[in-house]
Structure formats: structure tokens, C-alpha cells
């Protein structure tokens, strides 16, 4: 039996982390995600499951503690909001370069700079196009409800260890701060050292006699070795793109137009669909659940059916570039969105659809 509770998205992240058997959380407080660590501290999992919860001295320290924990094959996570995640970018590229599995939660707020503390989706580029230096990718999941905030924690750990790659949960202030009903999974035990030794031989557990040394590093002084390694990384990303695309289609079957939206914006667009359909406009939505890998094939299929697409994001237009790349000029693709911490209303989205797509 799963347990039914009413809680904030941020609280759901914390409860889900404890319940799925995470080994450690390292973080530094920042609005609008501070409830993640507050909840972990209140739950005191170090007394029950043995999970470590630590407030680091900064976001830079947090992400490097994650590197250390992940290097030992432990399931570790951190969370922050936009300015804090910017500070973590060096750590993220080192994690990707060392092929270390971990989970990072970004509860996005308005930027650039210190910005506002209200919800935004303006960290899309940073999450899916790199953020740090070098050719690397973060598998990026975008929850659109408190339930998904909970469910995506364990999923993220599974993907992180399957591909030995950092996984980003890209949320925002609205999903983090709102309360909804959520069903939590049962408590699962943390991995034992024996389990890690047997299943994740790359982890640095201490070399035993006769074993090969596990080396975790992102430095290759020989460029040809680096190129070979980068080919290996790219092959891994192609595998991720082949196997891990996740999305939800809402009322697409008879749609003349679609919204492409994720996270809180996708929730707003669901209401916009109700309003537009009441006016006789046949609109549906493709909601990417994974932002990387992006649902390219699904958009290509929909481009054969619909007359236009509106990418609705709480940003000046970021995901719209990936939608345009996917449909490659087949149908008009436009962007609409409020930003800087202001959220568009369902009605504003319908007006934008009428003006930018249907009006053409």
C-alpha cells in the first residue's frame, strides 16, 4: 500500500529520497527549494535508514561532496535553485566527465543573476545543452506535479546508475511550493557495500588483493585517449536518446494545433486546452517528461498532422529552439511565455495561440 499525503513538491523530493534508500544529501539553502533540506532535517533519516544529510558551506562544496559520495558508488543527491545551480556547473561537468551517477534537483526561479524567487523555466538551456564546459549531457526530467516530484527521485537514481551519468530534475518554484495529494512508496533499504561491490565495480571501495584499481578521474593528458573517451560518452548519449525518451500526449488525436510545454507550464496549458476547446479550437499538447533526451520523433510525427505548434515556457524562448529543430520547418513553431517570475494565465496562452499560430 502506498501512503496518501498532502504536501509540497519540495517536501515530496525529501520523502522520496529517504524512502528510495538514498545514502546522502548535501545542500545549501536557497528559496524556493529550502523545504527539501528542512524536511530531511526534520525527518532525521540518519537515525532510521542511516542516510546522511548535511548542510554544506556552499553550493560548490555540496556538489563536490556529491562527487565524493558518487565515487564510492553511493546514491547521493543535492538540490538548489538557479543561482546555486550555476555555482555547481564546474562540479557537474566533472561528474559527467568522470561518469559518476548522482541526482541534482533544480527548483528554478527567475533570472538572470540573483533574479527573483518566483517560478521560471529559464534554466532549460543550462540543463539540456551542457551548462558546464565540454561535450557532455545531463539526463533531464521535468516533473509537472507533486506526485512526479516524488516518483522521479527513484527513477533519476535508476537512470543515473544505468548510464553512469548525472541526472537533473528540472522543476520550478510553482511545483516546489504547491501542495497536492501524493502517494509515497514504501521504504526500501539502502544498498549494502556488498551490493555496490558486486554491481558497480567502478566504485572506489578500497582495493582488495588481486583486484584492479578503480580510478575515477576526468583528466586525460593524451588527447587521443580523451577523444576515445568522448566517443564512448557520445555512444552512451545515443543509447539514452534511443531508450529513455518520455512524454505525455494530451488530446492530440484530433488536434489541429498543439502546445509543447513541460512542468508547471504544462499544467497551465491543460487549462488552456479546456478554454480553447470550449471555443471550438482543436488543440492538444505534447508534454516532454524528459527534456534530454527530447521527444524528437514524436514531434516529427505530430508535424505531419497539425497546422502549427506553440512552445509555451516561462522563459524568453529556449525549448522552442529544440521544437523547431525537431520539426525542421514542416509547420510554423512559435514561442509564448511570461518570464522573470511572472506566470502566464491559461487565457493568455489561448490568446497567444490565436494570434501567433491560428492567425497566420
Amino acid at each position: 500500500m502506498r501512503e496518501l499525503k498532502l504536501m509540497k513538491g519540495n517536501e515530496a523530493i525529501a520523502h522520496a529520497a529517504i524512502r528510495c534508500g538514498a545514502d546522502g544529501y548535501f545542500g545549501y539553502p536557497i528559496t524556493p527549494q529550502s523545504e527539501v533540506m528542512e524536511t530531511l532535517m526534520a525527518e532525521r533519516p540518519w537515525e532510521s535508514t542511516g542516510m546522511v544529510v548535511l548542510q554544506a558551506e556552499s553550493e560548490i562544496a555540496s556538489i563536490n561532496m556529491v562527487y565524493g559520495g558518487a565515487g564510492c558508488g553511493k546514491r547521493v543527491l543535492t538540490s538548489s535553485s538557479s543561482p546555486g545551480v550555476s555555482l555547481m556547473q564546474e562540479g557537474l561537468t566533472y561528474l559527467a566527465g568522470s561518469e559518476l551517477p548522482c541526482v541534482i534537483v533544480n527548483v528554478v526561479r527567475g533570472g538572470p543573476g540573483l533574479g527573483t524567487i518566483q517560478p521560471a523555466q529559464s534554466d532549460y538551456f543550462q540543463s539540456v545543452k551542457g551548462g558546464g564546459h565540454g561535450d557532455y549531457k545531463l539526463i533531464t526530467l521535468a516533473p509537472a506535479s507533486v506526485q512526479e516530484m516524488a516518483d522521479f527521485v527513484e527513477l533519476s537514481f535508476d537512470l543515473a546508475f544505468k548510464y553512469r551519468n548525472p541526472v537533473m530534475i528540472l522543476s520550478d518554484g510553482a511545483i516546489g511550493q504547491m501542495m497536492e495529494k501524493v502517494e509515497l512508496d514504501e521504504f526500501k533499504p539502502r544498498w549494502t557495500d556488498e551490493y555496490i561491490e558486486q554491481n558497480h565495480k567502478w566504485a572506489t571501495m578500497g582495493k582488495k588483493k588481486g583486484d584492479e584499481r578503480s580510478v575515477i578521474t576526468s583528466v586525460q593528458l593524451d588527447a587521443s585517449v580523451q577523444e576515445d573517451f568522448n566517443h564512448k560518452l557520445q555512444a552512451k548519449y545515443r543509447e539514452v536518446e534511443e531508450n529513455e525518451v518520455r512524454f505525455e500526449k494530451i488530446m492530440c488525436d484530433d488536434a489541429d494545433y498543439i502546445f509543447v510545454a513541460y512542468g508547471s507550464s504544462a499544467r497551465i496549458c491543460q487549462k488552456s486546452i479546456e478554454i480553447a476547446r470550449a471555443k471550438g479550437i482543436k488543440v492538444g499538447m505534447l508534454r516532454p517528461i524528459t527534456l534530454y533526451p527530447f521527444p524528437v520523433k514524436e514531434l516529427q510525427e505530430l508535424a505531419k498532422q497539425v497546422k502549427g505548434m506553440l512552445s509555451v515556457e516561462l522563459s524568453a524562448g529556449q525549448m522552442v529552439e529544440d521544437v523547431r529543430l525537431a520539426v525542421n520547418g514542416k509547420v510554423p513553431v512559435e514561442h509564448y511565455g511570461r518570464f522573470g517570475g511572472i506566470m502566464h494565465s491559461p487565457g493568455e496562452v489561448v490568446e497567444a495561440l490565436e494570434q501567433k499560430i491560428i492567425g497566420e
Partner: protein
């Protein structure tokens, strides 16, 4: 049935906790619920508001710009939210500190003078429960028994002895809420 409610007033009036109790009551009644607060620096001594949606189906947008019911507890919130009530909707307000009373003729307006009543009852902290009583009288979206269950869920156990006092305040709110003719 879907009821989209905004509760708006000053930080410290118990706006967010009233919303939380309402949302928990919905959960007890096996409804879908969402509770979306305004959060930010404006909360400190400024305005605070929360959108609560109760529905028997999956809730689409937790973020709304028009509402079935607005519960308005200060002048700033009146200035902002009176116009955001859907035509045919409901506005409930506390007259304390209100200088510009609502004027719309296409909505139903109720007044619940909870500040005054809470002072008379000598329990200023039950202010928000008197307001909740006013709402439940004119819009019985959740049953009283589920509100009590909701109170139990949202209050820490050490405060459960205060539930009868809260129940009394809700009942009092139901008695004092009045229709306002514009």
C-alpha cells in the same frame, strides 16, 4: 464539481493555514486538491494569498487568474481580486479595514465580520476559522466532519486540544455571514 478559490489578506492572518485546512478537508472527502501559495518577500507584513482548488477530477492548472470564489480579508486584496471573480461567482469579505466596498452586480457578495467576532470571542487566532465558517455556509464544498478531520491532519498533535475551539469558531462564522446587496 470543481471549485476554484482564492483566499487573500495580510501575512499573519492565517490565510495559508486556512487554505491548508480547506485542502486537507478536500483530501478527507476523497477530492483532488491543489494549494498554491503566493510566496516571496511580499509576505512579510504585506499581502499573502493562496489558491485552493477542490475537484472531483484531475486538476489542470493550479495557477489561475479568475476564480469561482474570492475570500478577501484586506483592502489591497479587494483592489486586486474583486475583478478576478468569475461572473456569477461569489465574493466573501471581512469589513474590517475596508474603505472601498465591493461594487460588482454580476456576482454574489457576502460579508463575514470575523475580526470583530474574534475579538468578541477573545480568541483572535480563530479569526481564519470564523472566515472558513462563512465560506462553508454559503458554499458547502466540504462536509463539516471532513473539516474536523482536515484540522486533525493539518494541526500538530500537541494542538489537537484546540480543535473544539476551532469548531466553535467555524460554527460562529456560519451564523454571522450575511448577504450584501449592492
Amino acid at each position: 464539481m470543481t471549485e476554484e478559490i482564492i483566499i487573500a489578506g495580510f501575512g499573519g492572518q492565517g490565510v495559508l493555514s486556512m487554505g491548508k485546512i480547506l485542502a486537507y478537508s478536500g483530501v478527507m472527502q476523497e477530492m483532488e486538491v491543489s494549494w498554491m501559495p503566493s510566496y516571496g518577500p511580499e509576505m512579510r507584513g504585506g499581502t499573502a494569498n493562496v489558491t485552493v482548488i477542490l475537484s472531483d477530477k484531475r486538476i489542470s492548472s493550479p495557477i489561475l487568474h479568475e476564480f469561482d470564489t474570492a475570500i478577501i480579508l484586506n483592502q489591497q486584496s479587494m483592489d486586486k481580486f474583486e475583478e478576478q471573480v468569475k461572473p456569477g461567482g461569489t465574493l466573501i469579505y471581512d469589513g474590517n479595514g475596508i474603505s472601498h466596498h465591493p461594487t460588482r452586480k454580476d456576482i454574489t457578495i457576502f460579508r463575514v465580520d470575523a475580526t470583530e467576532e474574534a475579538a468578541r470571542m477573545r480568541s483572535i487566532k480563530t479569526f481564519n476559522m470564523i472566515v472558513l465558517g462563512g465560506l462553508l455556509k454559503v458554499k458547502p464544498v466540504v462536509k463539516m466532519e471532513n473539516v474536523i478531520e482536515g484540522l486533525k491532519k493539518s494541526l500538530p498533535e500537541r494542538h489537537h486540544h484546540l480543535i473544539p475551539m476551532n469548531e466553535k469558531a467555524i460554527t460562529r462564522g456560519m451564523e454571522i455571514v450575511n448577504t450584501v446587496e449592492v
